[in-house]
Symmetry: C2
Subunit: 317 residues, 2 copies
């Protein structure tokens, strides 16, 4: 068996390429700007260049490299290697990226959605290590979802696994997908920021205003937690409500998949146990059949931005 | 390969056992009352008796029978054959039904949730025949869910696949599971009946009152459709709202799984195209990425009560 793999994390801002060994350690990691507005072949050629450069710097021969795995934002057809649709790239629809890279690199290329790759990476070497199943929710600009089952990515059909685009409050806040009331519209980092802005605006005495320097456009996902810890009741109410919404979203995922672990990732997760403890309890209380059936713990993803790269490499079998 | 299988559909009211051939035809089907209040071993012994009787009546020898598959309501551990919890049976918690039946019958016994079996049966011989993936929602007293992926039941972990127990309107109607606002609380046949009763009560002129003989406890899932077809606007509003709620629920399932087909079953599905046409369109309009990615059709399950029995037999490989 060939001992090394190349992992690619294709993002809207940067392309990262790394060489990963059989123990899921990254030997070399390189990065370059994506230039997401360019024609897709230019982006693809940069991926090829970066991958080969990483291989060379790691001192790994092509013969010792089992293949290339790549995580990509948006909707990916894992079977055909097509990027069906991604709003991170200009005019990418049904782009045959996988087959182009396979030909250019002369190596097998496997692809999946970036959140799927992150979930797989966390199972291989992160906060879900040793678990055969995990659901990951990425709390960022939006809410992404990745599912690992029996140690592999559960892809669903093309366009599936959009876990953030399921209803939390039918008819509620407008979501980026065009529907109203999706989990993403309540549980993303952006949603938390919006919730904190509204609360701070309604309560001029809230410490959150001060922490924003009087300008609510400076609000970020950390400020409500900082203000709550300093005793600000308005901020605490924002956090409490956010935890209920996120708790409901995670309970949904537990009722659907009942994985061994639920992971959350994103900047807001720097809060650690302030999130995981109440969320784990919320799931225990609210999941189907209550305490009769064990519920999974909620944990913070631990690999940060390396999760996607390691997980992408794990796509190569 | 042994050409015949036994399928068991264990329900809260009746036990059904059948012998199924390699073409998924039922050769013989027998049934007896479940007696769900009895100790589980008495129920199990009746299953054994019924299975062997079906085999005998079909003229099939044990040597020609590959094994037994059984669908069971509630939470089933498909790996261990335990019924973890089922509110259809008195005091059934972690009942080792699978191993007991395996020993008593001297044949391999596979188990799954009854909605999973129904989905598998519909893929093998019903409305999803030829599809490698399908999501089935059963609209009855509650909302059950079954998922077939790559031609097999996707089990999730024990306690998972409770698709009806995911949020539609956080904080909304109380659900049988103890949470508020689940899909089941809006989309079950019982929920439709409740919605129709409320609307009829609020509008004494509505035809629905007359069709209930003046007693709203006579409301059923057919009356609002009948009244709407006769031009009753209040009934039409009930149907329109029900279709939106069910459309949202199905859109969630499409965004999660993106199966090849979505099936619905239950008494209310006698309405046929009155449901499937608007629901298919609703999903096309509202699923993630809209019309950029194909969405599955919504169809009515076609095997009726035989789906569970045929699907159970299909659990045996």
């Amino acid at each position: 068996m060939k001992p090394y793999k190349i992992g690619i994390d294709l993002g809207g801002t940067n392309i990262k390429a790394g060489v990963v060994d059989a123990d899921n350690h990254i030997l070399v990691k390189l990065s370059c700007p994506t230039g997401a507005q360019r024609p897709w072949k230019e982006v693809a050629d940069d991926i090829v260049r970066l991958a080969l450069q990483a291989l060379e710097q790691a001192g790994v021969s092509r013969e010792d490299c089992a293949g290339v795995g790549m995580g990509c934002p948006g909707t990916v057809n894992a079977e055909t290697g097509e990027v069906i649709y991604s709003n991170n790239f200009a005019n990418w629809e049904y782009v045959p990226l996988g087959s182009y890279l396979t030909e250019s690199l002369g190596m097998p290329v496997k692809m999946s959605n970036d959140a799927n790759c992150a979930a797989l990476g966390e199972c291989a070497a992160g906060a879900a290590q040793g678990s055969a199943s995990a659901v990951l929710l990425t709390l960022g600009t939006g809410v992404g979802g990745g599912v690992v089952w029996d140690g592999k990515v559960f892809e669903g059909g093309p366009g599936g696994m959009e876990l953030g685009h399921t209803q939390l409050i039918h008819g509620g806040e407008l979501c980026t997908c065009g529907r109203k009331g999706c989990i993403e519209a309540y549980c993303s980092a952006n949603a938390l920021i919006r919730q904190a802005q509204r609360a701070a605006e309604a309560d001029p005495a809230s410490l959150m205003n001060q922490l924003c320097g009087g300008d609510l456009s400076n609000m970020n996902g950390k400020i409500p937690f900082d203000a709550a810890q300093a005793g600000d009741k308005t901020a605490q109410a924002v956090i409490d409500q956010y935890l209920v919404w996120l708790g409901e979203a995670i309970t949904d995922m537990v009722n659907i998949f009942r994985p061994q672990v639920v992971l959350i990732s994103g900047g807001v997760c720097a809060q650690g146990e302030v999130l995981t403890k109440p969320l784990t309890e919320y799931v225990q209380e609210n999941a189907f059949a209550g305490r009769r059936i064990p519920t999974p713990p909620v944990r913070i993803a631990s690999l940060g931005s390396d999760a996607g790269l390691i997980g992408a490499a794990c796509l190569v079998s």
